[in-house]
């Protein structure tokens, strides 16, 4: 044999430390799929926070005067803006949920981008049409109509 490999000394190894980033959130280019997922998560959390406030408000049902005072308070512009944001969150969450159902149950994955933009247009239309009364109320409040 030309080379006596067995007589060679073994290569020396050093255990250099690896670098591990503990961050569980990574900066990454946001495309439709990741945007849809992030917005779904955030709108979901927003709806849960709303539900807590909503159920908390319902405890006033035991007293007629307290309930009427509460409902009167809900006519303030801040709650009209909240009403609009609630519609936006629920409409988005519902339609993106439908998108996920179509992808997972019917295998519409190849059409996911078109599906996203189509449902985004429907969602936007619903938010504009359904949210018009709340926005109108806010505008008239500030313009003194």
């Amino acid at each position: 044999m030309a080379v006596e490999t067995l007589e060679r000394p073994p290569a020396e190894t050093t255990e250099a430390p690896v670098y591990e980033d503990d961050a569980r959130i990574v900066r990454y280019k946001i495309r439709t799929g990741m945007f849809a997922w992030m917005a779904h998560r955030l709108s979901g959390i927003a709806i849960v926070i709303y539900l807590i406030l909503h159920v908390w408000g319902l405890k006033a049902l035991t007293d007629r005067d307290a309930f009427n005072a509460l409902i009167a308070g809900y006519h303030a512009p801040i709650f009209k803006i909240g009403e609009f944001l609630l519609l936006a969150a629920v409409a988005y969450h519902a339609f993106n949920g439908l998108r996920i159902v179509l992808i997972d149950f019917l295998g519409w994955s190849p059409k996911q981008k078109r599906l996203f933009w189509t449902l985004a247009a429907v969602t936007a239309a619903i938010i504009v049409i359904g949210g018009y009364p709340s926005i109108y109320a806010v505008v008239t409040y500030f313009t003194g109509g």
Partner: protein, 236 residues
């Protein structure tokens, strides 16, 4: 044209955290992104470390994060990354795995997950005289999934993997699909419980980063959805 090439570097012997180094590299629009790294290594700084082998999108060695997105460096052209002279291209190691040096990641976890789904044909029936035949129609079901080159671009692009290092990830579960839906395979009863687990299919939130990252343009989410449907309907 001249490009500013930013590379995320890490020297394990220095003990210092990773940092960005910038190099000025001459390039042609039709050059691959890999050729920029090779230029740095050959002419500017020989200590730059990255994996590459075939340089033609077959071996799957040079998956990395290019301009904030996981890509195969040899399979993406400079003209698809920049507009013109003086633009910047950034190279970073795949996110979500420990970094050994510069752009080289520790793939131990990635291949552990791969082995976990039993990526081989399971069939105890005695083999026929020549081979186990598969019709073109039966092959069409798994053909897209067989194109995987195990580069890891998908698994390391998945927010579920970043958040849970134990999540099997798209690459491993695509292999599970590829064998579970193989007409010659009889291992569903063994393989499905592995993917139908808390670190499996149900952490796929159809984010589509994996599909976007795949250099072979495999519709991974589509096949994972098929595997999800199989997992909920199968009796095992």
């Amino acid at each position: 044209m001249k490009l500013n090439v930013k590379v995320r570097r890490y020297d394990p012997e220095s003990g210092k955290p990773p940092y960005w180094a910038t190099y000025e590299v001459p390039a042609e629009p039709m050059d691959s992104a890999l050729s920029l790294l090779l230029h740095i290594k050959w002419h500017l700084d020989g200590t730059l470390t990255f994996r590459k082998s075939c340089a033609h999108g077959i071996c799957g060695s040079d998956a990395m994060q290019i301009n904030g997105e996981n890509k195969l460096a040899c399979s993406v052209l400079v003209q698809d990354l920049v507009k013109g002279d003086g633009d910047t291209i950034s190279f970073a190691p795949l996110p979500g795995s420990p970094v050994i040096k510069d752009l080289v990641i520790d793939q131990t976890r990635f291949f552990e997950k791969y082995r976990a789904v039993m990526p081989w044909l399971i069939n105890d029936t005695p083999p026929p005289e020549r081979e186990r035949l598969q019709s073109p129609e039966e092959h069409a079901i798994i053909e897209d999934a067989t194109k995987c080159i195990m580069c890891g671009a998908c698994t390391h692009s998945c927010p579920s993997t970043w958040a849970d290092p134990d999540y099997l990830g798209p690459a491993a579960m695509l292999k599970a699909y590829r064998y579970t839906f193989d007409s010659r395979d009889a291992g569903s009863a063994q393989r499905l419980p592995i993917v139908d687990s808390k670190d499996g299919l149900w952490k796929c939130y159809t984010i589509f980063n994996c599909v976007q990252a795949c250099p072979k343009e495999i519709d991974i989410t589509r096949w994972l959805s098929a595997l999800k449907r199989k997992a909920v309907t199968a009796q095992y």
